[in-house]
């Protein structure tokens, strides 16, 4: 299972990438495999603020639906518009073109409390 070393992870199968003073958020390759064909991603709006653990969006697959849970409290600064027309990017490239949103975290220090790649790999194996 593909688990890039340079990312942080949550137990809810999201990944987080530090990008300057912002964070890029998506779901892991493992998560997309479990969901199956993604057909619709309901993203939040720029400027929306969410607490850690709150649902910031939903991913509808053919058979099931999953929440995008906020890994860290913060404000949405960008969303991946490409998902509107090509939600299957989540299946094809979960760690790349299938990113979901960017946020400005309340505290950058919170990132250190997320799982590292090795721990996440153990979680899903």
């Amino acid at each position: 299972m593909n688990v890039p070393e340079n990312l942080k992870y949550t137990e809810d199968h999201e990944w987080v990438k530090v990008d300057g003073d912002e964070l890029i958020i998506g779901i892991t390759d493992y998560a997309q495999g479990e969901l199956g064909d993604v057909v619709f991603v309901e993203t939040p709006f720029e400027g929306d603020t969410f607490e850690k653990g709150e649902s910031a969006g939903t991913i509808e697959a053919v058979k099931t639906v999953a929440d995008v849970l906020m890994p860290i409290s913060g404000t949405v600064t960008a969303i991946n518009d490409a998902l509107e027309d090509t939600p299957e990017l989540l299946n094809k490239d979960a760690f790349g073109e299938g990113w979901i949103m960017k946020i400005r975290p309340e505290s950058m220090e919170s990132v250190n409390h997320l799982l590292d790649a090795e721990t996440y790999q153990r979680l899903i194996s």
């Binding site: 199956g36 057909v39 619709f40 939903t58 509808e60 058979k63 299946n91």
Partner: protein, 363 residues
């Protein structure tokens, strides 16, 4: 410990995602539900449905018994014909939906795997009053469904019978490479197709002849996930979702398979009463007019009042939009009516349509 079908090793070899279902470990998908779904609509797909239950009804009163057990007109069946039907409780609730196969001096009943134990007990109970012998052959019987527009050519290469003369909802007893099979022009996809019943001891040969020997590039393996999306596009009922002991065949709109005023069957009187008192709700097909996917259990509103609930739903791979099946209270169930689904707090518009969602191509 879940049971395994005789094709289990082939599912693993094909990297299927396996899930527990009705006491079996079954493939939910291989390469992806959408791809598998579209393969059945455009070419050919192969399903392992060996979990289904099969029961022989034999003995002097095999017709009388089946007539009382099931709601359709069994006496109208010709030898070699299949009938969709259901078994009801005395109050008109549904025990299970099933297929009835008419042989010369016996009948084969094919029931849902998840209901097999309950169905078997129900049948044994009713059989006490009849001179019949029931045999549950489910554990010895394997079943493949080959579905899609290309399946006639594929199947014709495997049997010596002329398949042009095998009509929809008919069957023949024939052989594939010397192995006896019941070859049935049935399926739950809305496509031209076959179901192949055989002894599970012969499953390796059957799998090779139908799929592995030379048809791997013509046939896509299809799991339970696409089986569900395919049947929803036809608005075919799934027991446990759309029908159960609390719903009646009239509500579910499968009254076309119910001989309401014919020879007596269990539950007939209750259903006649329902009909006379007007049926209060109906199972309808609807499509989303706004972006959102309906799921089982979602509430349906009409005129700001809850008027129903979704029983099956999801994305239609053929149409690329959300579709569903729901019970809606009369008189809000009419085709063309606008209904509202509550999806995560939002009220989204949908329209009741005349099923199926995509044209059926069973001929």
């Amino acid at each position: 410990m879940n049971k395994l079908t005789p094709f289990h090793k082939y599912h693993l070899k094909a990297n299927a995602k396996m899930v527990p279902f009705a006491g079996y470990e079954m493939p939910i998908q291989y390469e992806g539900i959408v791809k598998e779904h579209l393969a059945v609509r455009s070419s050919a797909g192969l399903f392992d449905v060996s979990h289904m239950g099969e029961i022989w009804v034999e003995g002097v009163e095999f017709l009388e018994f089946t007539q009382f057990l099931t709601m359709n007109n069994v006496r109208a069946l010709n030898i070699g014909q299949v009938q969709y039907s259901a078994m009801c409780y005395e109050d008109g609730g549904i025990v299970d939906d099933l297929l009835v196969y008419r042989f010369e001096s016996k009948i084969l009943l094919v029931v849902n795997a998840s209901n097999l134990d309950k169905d078997w007990a129900h049948m044994l109970d009713l059989a006490k009053s009849y001179d019949v012998k029931l045999t549950n052959i489910s554990d010895d019987t394997a079943l493949l469904a080959l579905q899609g527009p290309d399946t006639k050519d594929i199947m014709q290469e495997l049997v010596s019978d002329n398949l042009e003369s095998l009509s929809f909802y008919h069957f023949i007893e024939t052989s594939i490479d010397g192995i006896p099979v019941i070859l049935s022009r049935t399926g739950y996809t809305g496509e031209h197709g076959y179901e192949i019943y055989h002894s599970k001891n012969d499953s390796d040969v059957i799998w090779s002849r139908i799929y592995a020997d030379k048809n791997e590039d013509k046939i896509t393996l299809v799991g339970l996930g696409a089986r569900d999306t395919l049947r929803i596009e036809m608005k075919y009922c799934l027991y446990g979702n759309d029908i159960d002991a609390t719903t009646s065949p009239l509500e579910a709109k499968i009254q076309w398979a119910c001989d309401l005023y014919g020879e007596e069957f269990l539950g007939q009187k209750a259903l006649q009463g329902q009909k006379e008192n007007k049926v209060k709700r109906f199972l309808v097909a609807f499509k989303m007019l706004e972006r959102g996917l309906p799921r089982q259990g979602y509430e349906v509103f009409c005129d700001n009042v809850q008027m129903g609930v979704v029983t099956s739903g999801g994305q239609s791979p053929s149409l690329g939009l959300g579709i569903g099946i729901a019970y809606i209270n009369a008189p809000f169930h009419k085709i063309g009516a606008t209904i509202y689904l509550i999806i995560r707090g939002k009220k989204l518009r949908a329209e009741i349509i005349k099923p199926p969602f995509v044209p059926s191509n069973t001929n």
